[in-house]
């Protein structure tokens, strides 16, 4: 994880410098082979998800009892499941679920985290105390327990899953943003705004926040990976995305049910999750190193 304390020396971009910084970022990012590999995986997955209807060779819901649990063949490269559906097609459609859950859940977590972290860091005192104690309390719950408990009360559906992963995953972002605000609010530009009589709201969201977003971008990229993992685990346990909607996690459930006869149901969807999560992790670390090479381990 990035230690926010180490970023104190980071220069605040001014208008003219911004172009240079962006170019500097790209130059560093391009040189990092692993980061480029991560970016490649992520872009590829976007394309697959967008073009799912054109890429998938069969209807993902197309049942064919003549070819139940068939081993991988030329016609069905990843085999078929217990209802004779083509596993490759189901995985291609499943990539949409992963992408959707990853981005929406992280979007929710980031919004909550940015908002609470900004308030805590900017106002300090009892506001800070209250919000940070709330963070501490939330961190006491084993996240997976909290998610499962909430799912038990609400119906398991893809929308509920996204919201629940979001509202149980904002604490890290809040801590990051708070730390950024603590140092940024003492900078001259923020003090100048205050002296000019700008409203708090304007200082927080228009002036300080844009400067605090770099670490949030990194943690959001890594967060997408985490959300995809959580969704697949929930779907695997049968309390996430519900069949017949295909998701990588619920194809794996079928893999577990047929574990003694159909290894292909277990192997391929898991590989897809592994590669996806690896891609987002590499991309996130790459962005971090390109923003601030001093943080590189």
């Amino acid at each position: 994880m990035a230690d926010p304390g180490k970023q104190k020396g980071k220069p605040v971009p001014e208008k003219g410098k911004e172009e240079n910084l962006r170019r500097l970022f790209w130059r560093r990012f391009r040189k990092n082979l692993l980061a480029m590999a991560g970016a490649f995986i992520v872009i590829l997955l976007f394309i697959v998800a967008l073009l799912a209807p054109y890429l998938s060779p069969y209807d993902p819901g197309g049942i064919d009892i003549k070819i139940v649990l068939q081993e991988p063949t030329a016609e069905h490269p990843f085999g078929t499941d217990a209802l004779g559906r083509d596993v490759l097609s189901r995985m291609i459609w499943g990539s949409r679920i992963s992408l959707l859950v990853g981005f929406v859940a992280v979007g929710i977590a980031s919004l909550i985290g940015i908002f609470l972290g900004a308030l805590a860091g900017y106002y300090g005192h009892w506001v800070d105390n209250l919000i940070m104690r709330f963070v501490d309390i939330m961190l006491c719950f084993p996240t997976f327990f909290l998610i499962l408990a909430v799912v038990a009360f609400l119906e398991p559906s893809i929308w509920n899953i996204m919201i629940i992963i979001g509202i149980t995953g904002w604490m890290g972002v809040a801590r990051l943003v708070r730390a950024e605000f603590l140092s940024l609010k003492e900078r001259d530009f923020a003090k100048a705004e205050r002296a000019l009589g700008a409203k708090d709201f304007r200082i927080i969201f228009q002036h300080i926040l844009p400067n605090a977003l770099a670490p949030v971008l990194v943690s959001a990229t890594l967060g997408v990976a985490g959300a995809i993992l959580t969704e697949s685990a929930l779907s695997f346990l049968g309390i996430g995305v519900q069949p017949p909607t295909p998701s990588w996690g619920n194809i794996l459930t079928a893999g577990k049910d047929n574990i003694e006869i159909a290894w292909w149901l277990s192997l391929y969807p898991g590989l897809a999750i592994l590669v996806t999560v690896l891609g987002y992790n590499l991309l996130g670390e790459g962005i971090r190193d390109a923003i601030d090479p001093r943080l590189k381990q």
């Binding site: 327990f145 408990a149 695997f236 192997l267």
Partner: protein
């Protein structure tokens, strides 16, 4: 030290109150009341029965009264009666399963420590070596791999293809009839896969952390001094550097407890281990609300206790912490 302990205990009080408020909030997330959901599935529940249950749970009272009743019962570990067929007390159901979960988690913590620290130290000492590169790749994969999938693959490989290890439960069906020597192996062989799975994520995380910690420490002045006065590399690494790099590990272990406990749902379910995680999963599937709430609170309290132990160990190991 006594003062420090008191301070830590006092800090736990607001956290405990917060945990109960959030858990209480979760119950009230449900559309309708928990009673409706419990009785909807039961055709024998008449309006009168519902009313009696509502009174029992205090659902006809204002929220703060409900909260207070709930907390005071929770304080004496009275989580009510399970909605499931057996109708047993939730506290009993949890308590009989808790030792299994704690045992497995302590075991995997031990494995994490035993594996991750040497890996981290070696890859930092020989930075850029073949070993370092291989472990770095493995760590990246370890972060990205879905553990339930890894469990499936290992079950297929070792359980089904090779037939070396059992893939479910804590002992074989014919355990009672095995000779004593085989009984011990039976127990151990049932533990290998679950413990490996639950420890693998922690090993990846901690070895990475240990590596960067060591890299930081061996650049410190006192390490240069130790080298300059001609101490052997072995003594410099193991006596001077390692001791300082190990300190923050205690905190990391404390922070990893909620993840481990949460993860027990997954591996206990996959490997059919009768622990608290499996009970939780079964309760979620059966909408057994009293049990769900009981385990949620217990899980959070376990985390709190784990963090307390981590903080105290840190204070024991590092006198600077006690002073502040």
């Amino acid at each position: 030290m006594g003062l420090y302990l008191l301070k830590r205990l006092a800090l736990m009080v607001p956290l405990l109150i917060g945990i109960t408020i959030i858990s209480f909030g979760v119950i009230h997330l449900a559309p309708g009341s928990p009673i409706d959901m419990a009785t909807d599935l039961n055709p024998k529940a008449t309006a009168e029965v519902k009313e009696r249950m509502r009174a029992l749970y205090g659902l006809d009272k204002p929220l703060y009264v409900q909260y207070w009743t709930w907390v005071s019962r929770m304080a004496v570990l009275d989580f009510g009666v399970s909605f499931s067929q057996d109708g047993r007390r939730v506290a009993d159901k949890i308590l009989e399963r808790l030792p299994i979960t704690i045992f497995l988690n302590v075991l995997s913590l031990a494995i994490i420590l035993l594996a991750a620290i040497p890996i981290g130290v070696l890859s930092a000492t020989y930075q850029g070596s073949f070993f370092d590169k291989v472990t770095t790749v493995l760590v990246f994969i370890g972060f990205a791999v879905p553990h339930f999938w890894l469990a499936l693959l290992l079950m297929i490989l070792f359980g089904i293809q090779l037939g070396w290890l059992p893939i479910s439960g804590l002992k074989s069906l014919n355990y009672e009839y095995l000779p004593a020597s085989m009984q011990a192996w039976d127990r151990i062989s049932h533990l290998i896969l679950p413990v490996f799975i639950s420890a693998s994520g922690g090993v990846a995380g901690l070895s990475r952390y240990m590596r960067s910690n060591m890299l930081e420490v061996i650049r410190q002045d006192y390490i240069i001094t130790a080298k300059a006065k001609g101490l052997s590399p072995r003594i410099v690494i193991f006596q001077h550097a390692l001791r300082n790099a190990l300190l923050p590990v205690i905190t990391i272990l404390g922070l990893s407890i909620p993840g481990l406990i949460g993860g027990s749902v997954i591996f206990e379910t996959i490997f059919a281990i009768p622990g608290m995680g499996q009970l939780f999963y079964a309760s979620v599937m059966a909408r057994d609300y009293p049990t769900i709430m009981g385990i949620l609170v217990i899980g959070a309290v376990l985390t709190l206790v784990g963090n307390l132990i981590a903080n105290l160990s840190y204070a024991l190991a590092d006198p600077r912490i006690r002073a502040t």
